[in-house]
């Protein structure tokens, strides 16, 4: 017997016992699991995950700040280049790596002194700019969805990470984001992209004497550029 069959047969021996009734029959177990997966939905939603409308946006911003992200409200996407350039001024960095996202490519950086390249993250990147797939108000969490327009490495390699987020993409809770992904999936392709990152604040570690330090391997700073959906 190979490893797989051996493990499955041991599990079966453990589960087919009388006291496991009614799950002591594999067919029953298989159909129960399919049913449960089919009915997927929130198990227990905390009140904090039920914010609506404006309160949802406010909650997102305050929770993100609590996690030490910096949140800027922008009037429109056209403001992104200047805001990023202003924030970067103090650093002396002149290069910005942007994700291959049409909405970011459309931005006009000519008025800034920034040198723009587009693509995945690289080891020496100081500043990166991405567009978030979504966000979760209850904990101020960004949701990044990997794909042609959103390389995962850009979320981790730059020292400072800028993320544009449209207010309409802020969900009240995590489960709403899963529902959106299920809904948007093409038939016969996986619901999930290769990588989903939930990001709540900048990278940190407490591994040296439990002292909290920001910027372990991921970005030291996280800037969320929040844009009112109507202006996009």
């Amino acid at each position: 017997m190979n490893g797989r069959d051996m493990i499955l047969s041991r599990l079966r021996t453990a589960l087919d016992r009388v006291e496991n009734y009614p799950a002591n029959d594999f067919r029953w177990r298989a159909s129960a699991t399919e049913q449960r997966i089919h009915k997927a939905g929130p198990v227990l939603l905390p009140d904090r995950g039920r914010a609506e409308g404006l309160a949802r946006i406010e909650l997102f911003a305050s929770e993100a700040k609590l996690a030490q992200a910096e949140v800027r409200r922008l009037a429109a996407p056209d403001d992104v280049p200047q805001v990023v350039a202003d924030i970067l001024k103090s650093t002396g960095w002149t290069h910005l790596k942007i994700a291959p996202d049409d909405r970011l490519q459309a931005l006009d950086f000519t008025g800034t002194a920034l040198d723009i390249t587009c693509g995945s993250g690289a080891g020496g990147d100081h500043a990166g700019l991405s567009w978030a797939y979504g966000a979760v108000a209850e904990t101020g969490t960004l949701v990044m969805r990997s794909g042609p327009a959103s390389p995962t490495t850009l979320n981790f390699l730059p020292d400072w990470h800028f993320v544009v987020l449209s207010t309409e993409d802020i969900a009240a809770n995590y489960e709403q984001v899963w529902a959106r992904l299920r809904e948007e999936a093409e038939p016969d392709t996986p619901v999930m992209p290769r990588t989903i990152n939930w990001i709540t604040g900048p990278s940190r570690t407490a591994d040296i004497e439990q002292t909290l330090l920001l910027g372990a391997h991921g970005p030291r700073k996280l800037f969320i550029l929040l844009i009112d959906a109507e202006t996009i």
Partner: protein, 474 residues
């Protein structure tokens, strides 16, 4: 070969720890003022915390009742997303599978995200013995890898070390850097580690991570990190291997979410861990980055036996570390005393299973049976009961009187060290008061069954005798 256990010498190990004044100061600061306070703060921000614990317990029980069906569903989904699933009966088989994948990728260096399972199977030694350099990338794991030590805590591997010790370790190992550099402050240490590891990330041929849980619905596995190290490990190299144990499957994305609402809050008091990364199969054709090949290794290593035993409840564990953080014994002995990979109450239940009760017969007695571990466990595992089950087995194997003898010896060790005795006692009193609640008495107390069967035991009032004596209450 897995790590050689030193559980038989728990008493000696503990005694050494008790005499280490630096370690004692560090434990006092990081455990009581650190982890315990953070958890309380985290809990206070989520009124539904207790209800979530019940739901998490029920979810894990449901999974255990249907384990084979969920694993098969998970496997099918991984394959659909372009990944491969490997099943490993034991540590040997898991190491062989992983080595083979690395060799087929012509790997010279492998980066690793923090994974207790790869500690359980002693993967690093095996890779190194075959000419492949494993590089731990979690800062704590990196430090203990350089020192050739086991983690002393499941979520904070280098908890036992001071920053001076870390500085020494870096000077010994990073010999290409200026020997006179100033490493006296933690931020400088972090900066140096970040620079060293950045190179390794970019050069690695294979990335190996664990998985805190994996999801049958979509074939997705999840890692949880604050540093972003596991996340780079799973996205930069051309091959990604994730290793997890079979009991960590959950039905749906929503079920994973339930556990993730509890995990960080219980472990570190954070609202959410900085990075929760969900990966599914291999990179898609249009993706600009991500691994070409994805392998998921599912490890049994005796868990299917636990499922059929009186230790089944331990399979609900989500490795949050709370039971460790609240154990008065761990709080003074630290992790290495336990002598194997998993320390604290959860370790005392798991270790005898992996290394045998003859080797580990002292561990189930390395407890004051104060019940704190069960009180804080987010999935409500009855840890004291499971420890008692092991004591029965130890007794059957001819290790009689484990509890009384060890309990007495621990007491003697404490009594010889007045400062420690006072500290442990004041923790104990807090715990006893909490159990007693408003009534100020117990109907039942672990280890006091003979008394409480027929009457309540009054809870201790005020501070310890020594505290009150010190305050001049005579």
């Amino acid at each position: 070969m897995t790590h050689k256990p030193t559980c038989r010498t728990f008493q000696e190990n503990a005694r050494k720890a008790l005499d280490d004044t630096r370690l004692q100061a560090q434990m006092a600061r990081t455990i009581k003022d650190g982890f315990q306070q953070k958890r309380l703060k985290g809990m206070s921000r989520l009124p539904e915390y207790e209800a979530l614990r019940d739901a998490a317990r029920d979810l894990k029980n449901h999974v255990l009742d249907h384990l084979d069906a969920y694993l098969l569903r998970f496997e099918a989904e991984v394959v659909k997303a372009g990944g491969q699933v490997h099943w490993a009966r034991d540590a040997d088989e898991a190491r062989a599978i992983i080595l083979k994948i690395c060799q087929e990728a012509n790997a010279k260096t492998v980066t690793k995200g923090k994974s207790m399972i790869t500690e359980e199977i002693a993967l690093n030694d095996h890779l190194a013995a075959h000419g492949i350099e494993p590089v731990e990338t979690d800062l704590g794991e990196y430090i203990i890898q350089l020192r050739h030590e086991l983690p002393s805590h499941i979520i904070a591997p280098a908890l036992h070390l001071s920053k001076e010790q870390v500085a020494e370790t870096f000077k010994e190992n990073h010999t290409h850097l200026n020997a006179d550099r100033d490493l006296s402050e933690a931020p400088t240490l972090l900066k140096e580690a970040r620079a060293e590891l950045r190179e390794k990330f970019l050069a690695a041929d294979v990335g190996i991570t664990g998985a805190n849980m994996f999801i049958a619905e979509t074939g997705t596995a999840v890692i949880v990190t604050n540093e972003g190290n596991g996340d780079l490990t799973q996205s930069l190299p051309p091959v990604h291997i994730a290793v997890s144990s079979i009991e960590k499957v959950v039905p749906t994305l929503d079920d994973a979410t339930l556990l993730l609402r509890l995990l960080a809050r219980t472990a570190t008091g954070q609202e959410q861990t900085v990075y929760n990364t969900f990966f599914t199969g291999a990179k898609r054709p249009d993706d600009p980055d991500g691994p070409q090949d994805f392998h998921m290794v599912l490890l049994d290593n005796g868990r299917s036996e636990l499922l059929a035993s009186e230790f089944r409840d331990i399979l609900r564990c989500i490795r949050c570390g709370a039971c460790i953080n609240h154990c008065p014994v761990y709080g003074v002995t630290s992790g290495h005393a336990y002598g194997w990979v998993y320390p604290g109450p959860v370790g005392s239940v798991l270790t005898p299973h992996f290394v045998g009760i003859d080797e580990a017969h002292q561990l189930p007695g390395a407890s004051t049976f104060c019940g704190r571990c069960e009180e804080v466990c987010p999935v409500r595992i009855p840890l004291p009961q499971l420890l008692r089950n092991w004591r029965v087995r130890a007794f059957q194997r001819g290790h009689p009187g484990g509890l009384q003898r060890l309990g007495l010896k621990i007491w003697v060790m404490f009594a010889k060290r007045p400062a420690l005795y006072r500290r442990a006692l004041s923790v104990g009193i807090g715990v006893l008061k909490r159990i007693a609640g408003k009534r100020g008495a117990y109907r039942w107390l672990p280890g006091a069954g003979g008394w409480t069967k027929t009457r309540d035991l009054p809870a201790p009032q005020g501070g310890t005798f020594l505290d009150r004596y010190g305050r001049g209450e005579r």
